[in-house]
Amino acid sequence: MKRDPVILIVVALVISIMLVFGIQKARNSSGQQGAGKLQGQPAPDFSLASLDGKTLKLSDYRGKAVLLNFWATWCEPCKIEMPWFADLQKKYEAQGLQVLGVAMDDATPKEIAEFAQKLGVNYPILVGKEEVGTRYGGVQYLPSTFYISRDGKIIDRVFGLVSRSEIESNVQKALAQQGQVAEK
């Protein structure tokens, strides 16, 4: 029996679509992909202690574009981008950028502060809690960075180290979102 090649191609395409959707579904069921579902949604608010003993809330920064970076002292790629964040904080501060670092670490606040100081960090570092990571889809990889618009919505999230230009482009996107006037 001779098989029609068109039918074979259609069958192959159907199999392809099923496979791709199956894999996508599996990926979406993983915790980190929960973070993907947050895109376009209001960024979950949190209240965390900073290294200088203050308690900061994400909602305090409503009206600013926020780059929220989850990191740890044991994360080598995190070390690369933190000085970039410091530069971007300086460059875009007047336009309303606020970088916030959340240390998902078992190091002491003193060790975290020393580490951050060595990297020239000029933005608040908060001592992370797993519960906050969970609200952001479960921070299973570091670095994990969320870009939050002035009106408090997550416009993008990036896992892992990316280029400085990509980070800057995301910052510009977050700043471009119009929202309420900065309160802080």
Binding site: R3, P5, L8, I9, V11, A12, L13, I15, S16, I17, L19, V20, I23, Q24, R27, S30, Q32, Q33, A72, T73, W74, C75, E76, P77, C78, K79, I80, M104, D106, A107, E111, F115, Q140, Y141, L142, P143, F159, G160, L161, V162
Partner: protein
């Protein structure tokens, strides 16, 4: 027929490629052989570990102070002494996230040697030694939180030839 399946194969490969950052690092312990050790003497057990392809973990002596070292922690049974844990040298490698920096890491397969000494009084039976391997893995762009791999291996304790000799001492000419 084969060429008709090409789109399916390509789509699957694409999907898996997209899936790559989602894969989790894994370190596994290869089934260890049961080592026979004479009581009162030291013996070495080689534990073979395997790191999943595409991942690396810090060696036992990472160059950077903040990095989490790979460390085997063992809970020795009573009358069993863990004399030494010997780690292999790591490999100095640079990664795309820090091309100018060398990290001392393990990747692929690596072995940790555990020197065990059962006390003389220990019963000559099989003992299980339990513990955990602490490690922290990364790939070329992402790091994963520190993990613990449960480790377990058996050692068979035997009487030494000398012990048999002592147990059956030559009779005293006065006995």
């Amino acid at each position: 027929m084969t060429w008709a399946l090409a789109p399916a194969i390509l789509a699957t490969l694409y999907a898996f490629a997209q899936d790559a950052p989602i894969s989790k690092p894994s370190v596994t312990l290869q089934p260890p052989e049961i080592a026979t050790i004479y009581r009162g003497h030291s013996g070495t057990v080689q534990l073979q570990f395997r790191i999943a392809s595409g991942f690396h973990i810090n060696s036992n002596r990472p160059k950077q102070e903040y990095l989490k070292k790979t460390e085997l922690k063992l809970d020795a049974p009573t009358d069993m002494v863990i004399e030494r844990v010997t780690y292999p040298d790591g490999e100095d490698r640079s990664f795309p996230f820090a091309p100018d920096e060398k990290l001392n890491v393990y990747s692929g397969d690596f072995a940790i040697a555990v020197k065990v000494r059962p006390l003389k009084a220990v019963l000559p039976v099989k003992y299980a030694i339990h513990g955990r391997l602490n490690y922290q893995a990364c790939d070329n762009a992402v790091c994963y939180p520190p993990k613990q791999l449960p480790v377990s291996f058996d050692v068979k304790i035997a009487k030494s030839a000398g012990e048999h000799h002592r147990r059956n001492p030559p009779q005293s000419p006065h006995g």
